[in-house]
């Protein structure tokens, strides 16, 4: 059968493809969304961008908590007179078709009046009538077309952002003033002896003064504030020469105009502030739909099902869970609190929390810790501690999470800025002293001229544009950094520590090895049929690798949660599951997950699930080890030690069974002599990520939770990590080169200043020229460097 791609989502239609309306779909979900779209007149969706759809997830009872009016109140923005307005985050928005269909939601249900998408933030704002519609219905509708919203505890907590638009206002003021002042200063550039010019130059000059006032006192505010703060803490950062330059420009120009000594340098002043603010604006690139500050609140669900004393089920917010409550945890749900198991068999996956790749089995009466995911079967548990007191949330109380890495790091610009200020002041004083001796009337002129022309603006622009562009380039290759400061810190890294489970290994594919007696074709067919009936993740992985096409009907099928499954057909039976279930006595504790198989009560062998390492892991270590130290800190047992020792250099550290606190401590210890990079993925790495100099979270799906970090990397880009590190170092070199370039301009300008020949027109030419050429140079360089990533 020809391999076609799904008309809706573009995935390959394998053997279980669905045909409908002369089109191929990969699954029933995609076909259903197609049906919804075409019967509601929304088939333009496929014309705007082909195969733009997302496969919908099964929602089941996931959104029952939205029946609780209290929760709804907290989530909606507006709720009055039968109309509600809500802002939902939809991570699967990725193209123009998505925008189109989501803004045409009203065609899918008449109660929806308006919906507007904010693409960079991946949110949608929906206004709807609450007559026969509700938030829950809206969420289910969105889920059914493949745009499931992300509602976590964090969304419930608070509507944080009041948008900060002050930079745009300041940029607008500076640009407006710059344009007008340039026009007004034209007459005097040409210095033609005109009668009318002498008559009216006063008007022009005072108008220029008036336009410069809002620039100096409003738009340039941040620089003065920052310079003042820096001086107060005895630091000479780059804002000090900038603020000094602006101040001197303003004072000198005002004096020139008031005493009719010249036309003043207002054009250079407004131009300087405009370019500086432009640099700041460009540097501000943020990924609004990603959050680098997630803590446990975005990991946990909003509500759980509580069993009342009368046996009634109700959904309550997880903050309202009290000690002694009985709650229900369904399959694939996360355990939100520390509790004791009452009913059911617990098979909990703690890989995200502790890094253990094997599921943990617990019996009734045993304690369960918060954060794990229940794999199969329903559990009834009794709460021991409330959410904020559980072991997991306590981890976030550690002071390392309130550390601000960016403010403690002195950027390259600041270091150069310090030397620059000292150099300029020295030259200014020397030149003044010289002229005082030679011709004292020129002294003040020269002093202020030196301070004006020695423009730090090229220095102040080099870093924002270089790093801002590099940030964008990284983002295109799915490495999303929090801000430009991270690139500078990356360039100084000399030690890289990796987590194992989930970071170096992937859960998507598993290497499954069979040990034991070979199974016959009939046995394999029966095994595969039996596995098909089970929903357990291990069953599904096993099902995929078995080669057999003969699916038969089972006479009998039984699933014993936590133990195994059994299938009977044609007088034969097969059992798949844990060793004891299948009837084998095990003496050795196997480090990896193993599933045993017995046919007709005769144990045949076992399937061992080994960690699959991501592509390129070996190359990453080979590359990095050549110029820095590497190591692995894993929360898992050391079953994979041999495997790992093969791919790592001999002196690398391999530590296993590390708890979150152990990882944090280890990084802290290493930091005494190294700059450490931590690459991790789960909650068990959260402390280490915060403690390290740069913490990178690896994620298979960047829309899903990742712990607080400095950068999020899509798992498919992990192999490019060495290149990213190299590029960070090269960016710093580009910045240094542009400093050299700006030095040339400064020397030329200083020549004019020191000899007392600085005319406003010369300053007005040099300043924009240097700024623009620096910007062009850095952009071209970073783009060329960016080509290495292809």
């Amino acid at each position: 059968m020809a391999n076609t791609t799904c008309y809706h989502c573009g995935d390959e239609c394998e053997k279980n493809g669905v045909q409908f309306d002369e089109k191929e779909f990969c699954c029933n979900g995609c076909k259903t969304v197609y049906e919804i779209f075409s019967s509601n007149g929304l088939s333009t969706f496929y014309e705007i961008e082909a195969k733009a759809g997302t496969t919908p997830n099964e929602l089941r009872g996931k959104y029952n908590f939205l029946d609780n009016q209290e929760i709804v109140e907290k989530l909606v923005e507006f709720n009055e007179e039968g109309v509600q307005v809500v802002s939902l985050m939809i991570p699967s928005i990725h193209c123009s078709s998505c925008i189109w269909v989501l803004e045409n939601l009203n065609r899918l249900h008449p109660a929806i009046t308006v919906s507007q998408v904010d693409f960079p933030k991946k949110t949608i704002r929906v206004t709807y009538k609450t007559g026969d519609f509700s938030l829950k219905a809206l969420v289910l509708l969105l889920g059914s077309i493949g745009y499931e919203p992300n509602i976590s505890l964090e969304t419930l907590e608070g509507k944080k952002n009041t948008v900060d638009r002050s930079l745009i206002y300041k940029l607008g003021v500076a640009g407006f003033a710059f344009g007008n002042v340039m026009l007004l200063s034209f007459p005097e550039y040409f210095e033609v002896e005109e009668f009318w010019l002498d008559q009216y130059k006063g008007v022009f000059r005072w108008l220029m003064f008036a336009f410069s006032l809002p620039v100096v006192f409003y738009a340039a505010q941040d620089y003065f504030v920052s310079a003042y703060k820096g001086l107060r803490s005895k630091l000479l950062n780059i804002d000090v020469p900038i603020a000094l330059g602006i101040l001197v420009l303003f004072l000198r120009s005002t004096m020139d105009v008031a005493l009719d000594l010249g036309s003043g340098f207002f054009d250079s002043l407004t131009g300087l502030v405009f370019f500086l603010l432009l640099g700041k604006f460009f540097q501000q690139k943020t990924y609004a739909y990603l959050s680098f500050e997630r803590d446990y609140k975005s990991y946990f669900p909003i509500a759980v099902t509580r069993l009342g004393t009368d046996g009634k089920e109700e959904d309550i917010q997880i903050y309202k869970i009290k000690k002694g409550d009985r709650i229900l945890i369904r399959s694939q749900e996360i355990i939100p609190v520390d509790c004791i198991l009452i009913k059911g068999t617990a098979e909990v996956d703690y890989s995200f929390v502790t890094g253990e790749s094997q599921a943990v089995f617990k019996e009734s009466g045993e304690k369960l810790f918060a954060g794990g995911k229940q794999l199969s079967g329903v559990l009834e548990v009794e709460v021991l501690k409330s959410v904020s007191q559980s072991y997991l949330t306590q981890l976030w109380g550690n002071s390392v999470f309130s550390k601000d890495k960016a403010s403690q790091f002195q950027t390259l610009t600041d270091r150069i800025g310090k030397r620059f200020t000292i150099a300029v002041l020295t030259i200014a004083f020397l030149a003044t002293a010289f002229w005082l001796y030679y011709d004292s009337s020129m002294a003040l002129n020269v002093f202020t001229a030196v301070l004006i022309i020695a423009c730090p603006c090229a220095i102040a622009l080099a870093a924002p544009f270089t790093l801002g562009n590099m940030l964008r380039i990284f983002g295109k290759h799915r490495f999303y950094l929090k801000n430009t400061n991270v690139i500078e810190r990356l360039a100084q890294i000399d030690m890289a520590i990796f987590d194992k489970t989930g970071t170096l290994t992937t859960t998507k594919r598993e290497t499954i090895l069979y040990e034991g007696v070979e199974l016959t074709t009939e046995e394999t067919a029966l095994l595969k049929t039996t596995l098909r009936a089970s929903n357990h993740p291990l069953s599904r992985s096993l099902y995929d690798i078995l080669k057999s096409n003969a699916i038969m009907t089972l006479d009998e099928f039984q699933e014993h949660t936590g133990k195994g499954i059994e299938g009977r057909a044609n007088q034969h039976s097969i059992k798949v599951g844990s060793a004891t279930y299948v009837g084998k006595e095990t003496t050795a504790e196997l480090a990896n997950t193993a599933v045993y198989v017995s046919s007709d009560e005769d144990v045949k062998g076992r399937f061992v699930f080994k960690n699959t390492y991501r592509d390129g892991v070996k190359e990453i270590f080979a590359d990095l080890a050549s110029y820095m130290e590497v190591g692995i800190l894993s929360g898992d047992n050391d079953g994979e030690r041999e495997q790992l020792e093969k791919i790592l250099p001999s002196q690398a550290q391999l530590l296993f069974n590390q708890k979150p606190e152990d990882k944090l401590e280890y990084i802290g210890k290493m930091q005494k002599s190294h700059q450490v990079l931590m690459v991790g993925d789960g909650l068990n790495d959260a402390g280490a990520l915060a403690q390290s100099n740069v913490g990178v979270a690896v994620s298979e799906n960047v829309n899903v939770f990742s712990p607080a970090c400095d950068g999020i990397m899509d798992a498919s880009s992990l192999g490019k990590l060495p290149t990213f590190m190299q590029l960070s170092k090269k960016s710093i070199q580009v910045i240094k080169l542009s400093f050299m370039l700006s030095l040339c301009y400064n020397i030329v300008g200083l020549y004019f200043a020191v000899t007392g020949q600085l005319q406003p027109v010369i300053a007005a030419i040099l300043m924009p020229l240097s700024s623009i050429s620096i910007v062009a140079f850095t952009t071209v360089c970073t783009n060329i460097l960016g080509k290495r990533l292809k």
Binding site: T44, D118, F176, N180, Y200
Partner: protein, 69 residues
């Protein structure tokens, strides 16, 4: 040449009007999302008719499709 006062006054007031319009648009939130409007304006949306007959809508879409070819 004293007309220069009038000229300056007019040009500056026009400029200030544009600036006021800029400030107003920023306040209204037009600069909060500068990407989506660029995509939105390229959509070929036919006029939304309040119809309870989805088949009619489909026919209309087919018509516009054929004329757009």
């Amino acid at each position: 040449m004293s007309v220069i006062y009038v000229l300056l006054a007019i040009s500056i007031s026009v400029a200030v009007c544009f600036f006021a319009a800029f400030v107003f648009s920023v306040k209204k939130g037009q600069y909060d999302d500068v990407y989506t409007p660029s995509v939105r304006m390229l959509f070929d949306d036919e006029l939304r008719k309040d119809t309870d007959n989805p088949d009619q809508n489909k026919k209309q879409i087919k018509q516009t499709e054929s004329t757009n070819q």
